[in-house]
Symmetry: D2
Subunit: 367 residues, 4 copies
């Protein structure tokens, strides 16, 4: 099988022929249909994530067709309803693997995203785990990986349009507790921010303001459900704040969702949120540096609530997929992929995302 | 009537004879039994609060005996159960007055602490409102002020021991959602912090760690229900963190309550809280400056929740009073008052609190 | 002014000329544009509600044009943003009046719908309060009544299409905590049930099943956002349950909203809800009799949560109006009114609703 | 090993010598120190539970000393902190076993108590699973069973005093969301009810009313933290209600916890709860028949919330154990065991519990 390998931080992507290892009992082999380049892959490439076992095959959210099962029929995994998967099923899988179900976070707190044994396909699982990312003709899924059948009518390319960003956004919207009629401001017009705007809109939020850049992303924000898109490059902070106040009766947003990764956005978010409102910080998967925050003005006096949001679990994955399947007629998730790339082009795809030349790059390993 | 007047920021407290104005319909005149010097009074004195109509009579949480009602018997206010107050009743009153019941915060959000019309006796109500603070022989309560009868068996001095700090702490503990078995860390060993530790303990929290100084406050923390008291002056940050981790299975506190007013405490609190935990910021009633916060390390990755907590409403006042009445045998609220002062001594009392020479100064205007 | 008067339970509606009383300070006189016949009016007529001061002018949710203010300009009421109302403004008003802001429910519990002083225009306010229902050419609003300006673009007839049912439904959907992706089943296809289906749909619920009758209401359910409408008359209980299970992976609905007033629907709802789900009981404003419920099978074992839902407050009124204004292009609220009636025809309108001959009757007093 | 076997419903308990099967990899053998007779064992005996694979060895909550591990050292289970268990450790274990971690309830809803694969030691696990209940000299724990080290200072007999009832009560108190200052009424003075009263008291509830019988249980209620104990046999319903109203300002309890198993108690509970309050139904593990409930009077109008509560999970087990360890000086859990029995006497113990001759029977298999 051919695969795009990231040999080390900052090294060029290398396309290699890798052997397909034998399948252990309960393992599953997928023929990859579609995968994606996500912002995290840029962080991976730039060496900004800890615990990455380079070399790795990137691509943590992917779709494939089941090609083989390890072990006997009785070892085949089943879906949530107990229906066993079949050869040929088109599936995605929870990129999070290995949460132990036995630690305090899994068992007592019910917060498996903080399980210390949690690993992620294509990020903290490397070549030694079997080539496990989606920038490859095949993906080897370990026993116990949670497979999810794509709902009838949801094309792999549409799902990848939302992809990892939609799952993260689903978690952020749920953690924010967005309710019918809430005024929502989203900071960031990348894949997470645009999906957050879409999911807030589907949840009945109104208005839905997106702040970001450049112009083509803002145009997309409108198509994704934003009622107002503010250009970060054209408007100074005060003007952005005025615009948010103008559509929220002068109070600010009930909910702010930060999806930028830029520290300063967190401080800005606090100024856009109404007194007694909620801000979810969902964009900081790597350390972008400190911000200056004023406990009196930003937290205590405005009675603000700030909720960090890390990773996602099966409930967010299923929720995002169902939302995409149900609302794809209204929300153009498939258009979030600016361009599709082959395995051979995956280095160029990564570079384009790193240079912010496109919104989202898809990978079609077998096209 | 004699009253201690704060003429202007940083000016000496001036004891004056003031006329008792005639009582409007629905107004109530209290003969003051006990009041207190609270940290906010120091802020008032130092001119760090906006909207203060100097000159003022300080003392926002007080106890008095009803001496007169304005208007006819039918205008007399009633308690929550509809029972009308009588001459001679010993009462306290909600220091917050004038929330409008008609704005978006009062009526839609249910967050009256953010009502723009909200005013506070002894803080944002001045001489023009009638002498309205408790550092005086009498307090003039405007029509509509919410009176609360002290429960049988709760002495005025004991109530003032908790006083404003206990009400603020009740709000903080409730906003934190402290539950049976939660590990709680309280930053600050002043009146708010000590009452927060007490109320967390009564709520079944375990352990309850208090971090503060000096030693006598830490000794009091133990008597108030803390299971561990850490000396801020003697232990560096790393040692304090180690101590919290050591009694929380290495995870950190489920709930951190900041009650210091020192910005850096908010940053420290984030390092003491477990992943997925909750930190309430309750100590910043004035602007103490900015802190450096890292969105990745302090919010996003640890999936932390930070809740600002501003002011308090009738539910917190009633809750705190009931808790004091019920648990005074277990929690020595009355001992929080280090010394009682007369009206004439109120300037000295204020200076002593400003100098942190004592934990809490009580005012007994008629002693 | 002409008004339709309900003289006593079960007596014919009587159209009378009533004097317009002088306006007290802070009172407001509305020229009625539109009102409605609600199911509660049928209960009123049948004498099934306690505390009704017959004779009354019915019509508790109405729209009018401000014709006069009592008192000086300074007494004019303002909206939530502090903007004073003007002669000619088209407004509705919170039908709930007189919540005291001083009792335990108002002040401590934050549940003003249980305030003992709460009264409702057109229901528990009668002729002695001034003719106060909307089946009249004018409505006399007492000082302190909460007025709400109809948002630009929301026609009075569209608002009345949702009317009281939409407000009640908003409360029910909020009390249920409907979230993006929840499977919702609504029992009842009357004005409350249909608006509940619409508001659940706007909140991202999927599927949204409505169970009711007759066929025209079910057709309307589909237009209001239901993804499945089940005919109560055509399908036995087992078939209805099978249909709900079939679209919820065999588990049942995450949320059931009862909006029928038929006691047996509560028992049916418990069988349609998934284990660990939520059922809101919103349809029982009068006593329709007992049901047999099995604590083991219906509550304990399925880990069910049943939430009674009484009345509504300003937050629900504002929320419903905003949702109608925002989503009227998608949800045909105006079509819920089957026919508009004059004051003279209001007796016939009431009879038609009592006979369930139409979905909703509108009253246009000045048409 | 000697074990008490329940051969079939209603058959006498039979003491047998059973072989100790070989230990599979990851299995653990406990030498039983203490177990208990719980109300569920009476249901088991009377054949009122479905899915019981008779013959069984009863005793689902037990304490033992680790005697042997199956497999190599690497297979030894670890505690929540990752510390591996050792031969000789005194432990209890989560009686719930086999929740799959892969179904919708486990993975999406986060409600593992509704996992269809969930089984319970001593109840739905029988001889074929290895003798697995605590009425035996040894207990064979399957691989993956969640072991919990008894905290230092918590004697096995004290833990068994709370036992299964304390875990169930912890879940009920948590599901009720009991907060500092809540008025709580507990229906039932058996092991669940008494522990619920204790845990509510530890959570700061006040008052805590227990309604039950006979007199010795009510005396125990007072020692467990109840502030008022009402005799079900001596007082008619109206008098019980009056007593609850008298100590709750005429409003009723904020929280009612039903722990009786008697259907009528659910209807009574609805009359003891304040408007807008919460009732948890935790006592109906078998079908005791229907009740008549009035949707208008019991649910809709009082805006009541009724929460069924089924089973418990690891968080409740750990929470209960920690509460017992921490508060055993204040709450006499050990005194809940009226008498200790040997294996040979376990039939008599069961009969005594069935006849309600004692509060709780302990089993000491090796005494």
């Amino acid at each position: 099988m051919r695969a795009a390998v990231m040999p080390a931080p900052n090294a060029p992507i290398d396309v290699r022929d890798l052997p397909v290892p034998p399948l252990a009992q309960g393992a599953v082999l997928l023929e990859t249909i579609a995968s994606e380049v996500c912002g995290t892959d840029v962080h991976l490439w730039h060496g900004r994530l800890a615990g990455v076992p380079y070399p790795i095959v990137p691509g943590h959210v992917s779709v494939g067709r089941i090609a083989a099962f390890g072990g006997s029929d009785a070892d085949r995994p089943a879906d949530l309803d107990g229906k066993r998967f079949q050869i040929g099923d088109v599936v995605t899988f929870l990129d999070v693997h290995g949460t132990c179900g036995a630690c305090w976070y899994c068992l007592v707190a019910g917060q498996s995203t903080r399980c210390p044994k949690r690993r992620v396909y294509g990020i903290t699982m490397g070549m030694a785990d079997g080539p496990s990312g989606g920038w490859a003709e095949a993906i080897l899924l370990k026993p116990g990986t949670h497979l999810i059948r794509l709902p009838r009518g949801l094309e792999p390319e549409t799902f990848i349009g939302g992809g990892c960003g939609a799952v993260t956004a689903f978690h952020a919207v749920r953690r924010a507790g967005v309710r019918l009629g809430d005024a929502v401001a989203v900071l960031g017009a990348g894949p997470v921010g645009l999906s957050a705007a879409a999911l807030a809109s589907i949840s009945g939020a109104d208005p839905v303001v997106v702040i970001g850049a450049p112009a083509d992303r803002l145009a997309m924000a409108g198509r994704m459900g934003a009622t107002l898109a503010l250009d970060l490059d054209a408007l100074p902070h005060a003007a952005r704040r005025d615009a948010v106040l103008a559509c929220t009766h002068g109070r600010g947003a009930d909910v702010v969702i930060e999806a930028t990764g830029v520290p300063q956005a967190v401080a800005e978010g606090a100024t856009l949120c109404r007194d007694g409102g909620v801000m979810v910080v969902a964009g900081h998967y790597t350390d972008g540096g400190d911000i200056a925050l004023n406990p009196h003005a930003h937290l205590n006096r405005p009675h603000l609530e700030v909720r960090g949001c890390w990773g996602s679990d099966a409930s967010h994955f299923h929720g995002a997929i169902r939302a995409m399947a149900r609302h794809q007629g209204r929300i153009p998730w498939s258009d979030l992929v600016t361009r599709w790339y082959s395995i051979e082009e995956s280095g160029a795809a990564l570079q384009a995302v790193a240079d912010r030349k496109l919104l989202k790059a898809g990978i079609r390993p077998r096209a």
